[in-house]
């Protein structure tokens, strides 16, 4: 009974698990096809290729088969770039061979997609913006959380609830006014627009505060007796003891800046400042018929995050799981 039960459980999980990853598998397999193979719609997942060659006494040349009439066949000879170099040639049918290649993977799509649009630049912009935002988030977050958790001061609760209520407001609500504000600051179409508003993350402040509050008071008392300054305690006690939570916050921050889309779409017009997600969305409009290149571009745009994810999937999943637990 338990055996059957567990088999069914695994079966269901596998079927739905496949549903979860089939879009990715399809994306990658499409990225590795030629456009003509995709258009033919005969291949589902594993790219294959079929073509004819003319075996001219050991020298094999790619051809197009025009027609076969008994012993002789009419062919077009192709050169290396698959352009026709000789038309309507008659050769013995016995010298024609069908070649089947499976899998036939066209990694060149990645190179083509990468060259077609300045994705290198988009990667650079995204990494630049993500890392500078991260530095800001950690700097503002550590300081503010330290004040909230370890200091007594007037208005602390007021500021705390102010932050909390700001966190609740969804981004699209203040998108338009932010645009107007950044316009007045002359920051539209600059890195400032992408970085500075995101150098404080309220959620990170709460995450840090929660952690700092749990640190044993004795440590701070001992440090105070040794003459350690308030800032010294942050630097020498709090931060070294908070490495895991800092790592968690960094991962959240990197993933969210990497994937951020609506903000950079609205705030940036100059192509040189486009981040990866925005660049990809423009590529989606320009190259909508070049499916294979589009899939190649989508693939390499998610690879850095997937690497980060697989590298630390246990920690990342555990961190996200923590966000749902109430204290």
């Amino acid at each position: 009974m338990d055996r059957i039960r567990s088999t069914i459980t695994y079966l269901i999980l596998t079927i739905f698990g496949l549903t979860m990853i089939i879009p990715f598998i399809w994306m990658i397999s499409t990225a590795l096809m030629t456009q003509s193979e995709f258009n033919k719609q005969e291949t589902l997942f594993i790219p294959k290729e079929e073509y004819y060659v003319w075996n001219n006494e050991g020298v094999k040349e790619r051809i197009l088969l025009v027609m076969e009439e008994g012993d002789t066949s009419v062919i077009h000879l192709l050169d290396e770039e698959l352009n026709i170099k000789e038309e309507y040639k008659k050769v013995p049918s016995a010298q024609i061979e069908l070649v089947r290649k499976k899998p036939s993977l066209h990694f060149s799509n990645f190179v083509k997609a990468f060259k077609k649009v300045p994705f290198g630049l988009y990667f650079y912009n995204t990494i630049y913006v993500s890392f500078l935002s991260l530095i800001g988030v950690l700097f503002t977050g550590l300081l503010a959380a330290y004040a909230f958790s370890r200091m007594e001061f007037r208005g602390r609760d007021f500021f705390f609830y102010l932050f909390l209520s700001m966190m609740m407001v969804p981004q699209p609500i203040y998108m338009i006014s932010s645009y107007i504000l950044l316009d007045k600051l002359n920051w539209l179409d600059t890195y400032n627009a992408l970085i500075i508003p995101w150098t404080a993350n309220i959620f990170t402040i709460f995450l840090f505060r929660q952690h700092f509050k749990a640190l044993p008071k004795e440590l701070f008392d001992a440090a105070a007796i040794d003459g350690c300054s308030v800032f010294g305690m942050l630097w020498r006690i709090v931060i070294p003891l908070s490495k895991p939570i800092i790592a968690t916050a960094s991962v959240f921050s990197l993933i969210s800046s990497w994937n951020s889309f609506m903000w950079p779409l609205v705030m940036i017009n100059r192509p040189e400042l486009r981040v990866l997600q925005v660049g990809l969305s423009y590529f989606n409009q320009e190259a909508s018929t070049q499916t294979t290149l589009l899939m190649a571009a989508s693939t390499f745009s998610i690879i850095p995050i997937l690497i980060l994810f697989f590298f630390a999937q246990k920690q990342i999943i555990a961190s996200y799981a923590k966000t749902g637990l109430k204290d």
Binding site: P23, F159, S177, K326
Partner: protein, 310 residues
């Protein structure tokens, strides 16, 4: 301890405070003010009182976008909750390969919405998409998906020969395609949250129920569901808030919320009004209305939670 006036705590707070005030508080207040202006980027705009709100009430596209958004929320949120609880219960039960399955289910959540929207747009392509290929295997004729403006319930019942009245047609098939994709994208997060919640339920309850001879399904309905309800409320709230903000899918997968505006969601409409048509005052009025709606729902859910949780 007595609270004293000291300068140093404020210095620690200052960097975060400056950013939060400048780029959260001020824009939020501004968007409230701008909603009373006729504002189109040039100059400072003209005060028009409640005109934006009056226009909004008489704007059929606003109501359609609101309706579409409500359809998305009403279908996506329960679907996501049911599936993720189901997967979490299964994942909680198994011994081997737990990590692998968790990773697989979580993957869509960490990947960028832009990339997966592009992929799903192709999956739903009428001629070359994977969805119609798979439907073909089980004998279902190719569907229009993102190009189909007719209602999903209408199409389903039409197949079995029933003509539904107009008000029962439901969201368009195009919007339904967006809903499928959105459920897929967010499922992993909810599953992980539920899994963490399930692991917090003490085994003692199940052991006791086992002794009393309660069946597995009885245990699920009488132990798991009530004890997991705080998690359910959290998931319900988060999923609702996030699904009200759906934007990238519409921008990337549809032609400006088409066909016939049936996939135009409220945040896309705000974007279109504000940044395509440069009616920023009007767009702010819509944004503020959305905010009040989300705030109202949040308060409502909190109230409900206090009544229901154990």
């Amino acid at each position: 301890m007595k609270t004293k006036w000291k300068i140093s705590p404020y210095l620690y707070l200052l960097p975060a405070l400056v950013i939060v005030i400048a780029f959260r508080l001020i824009p939020i207040v501004m968007s409230f003010i701008i909603s009373f202006f006729d504002w189109s980027l040039q100059g400072t705009g003209r005060f028009i009182g409640l005109e934006n709100y009056q226009n909004m009430i008489h704007d059929p596209v606003f109501w359609q976008s609101m309706g579409n958004t409500l359809w998305l929320v009403i279908i996506q949120v329960p679907a996501s909750i049911i599936f993720s609880l189901f997967f979490a219960v299964l994942l909680n039960r198994i011994k081997y390969l737990k990590g692998l399955f968790r990773t697989v289910y979580f993957m869509p959540f960490v990947t960028s919405l832009v990339a997966v929207s592009i992929v799903w747009k192709l999956i739903f392509n009428e001629q070359t998409g994977l969805m119609n290929t798979f439907l073909g295997y089980v004998g279902i004729s190719p569907q229009g998906w993102l190009s189909e403006s007719r209602g999903i319930f209408y199409l389903m019942f039409q197949d079995i020969g029933i003509n539904l009245p107009r008000y029962l047609h439901g969201p368009s098939q195009a919007l339904f395609a967006i809903i499928i994709m959105t459920v897929w994208k967010g499922l992993g997060y909810n599953t992980i949250i539920y899994l963490a919640g399930l692991q917090n339920i003490s085994k003692v309850y199940y052991e006791a129920a086992e002794i009393d001879g309660a069946s597995k399904s009885k245990q699920f309905w009488h132990i798991t569901v009530p004890l997991i309800s705080p998690t359910t409320f959290y998931v319900l709230l988060m999923t609702t808030i996030v699904s009200f903000q759906t934007f990238a899918q519409i921008y990337l997968m549809t032609d400006k919320g088409g066909p016939l505006n049936t996939t135009k969601l409220i945040v896309y409409y705000i974007y279109e009004k504000g940044f395509d048509l440069l009616e920023m005052g009007y767009a702010s009025a819509v944004a503020l209305t959305l905010f009040i709606l989300i705030l109202g729902l949040t308060i409502l859910q909190r109230r409900l939670e206090r009544h229901v949780t154990y």
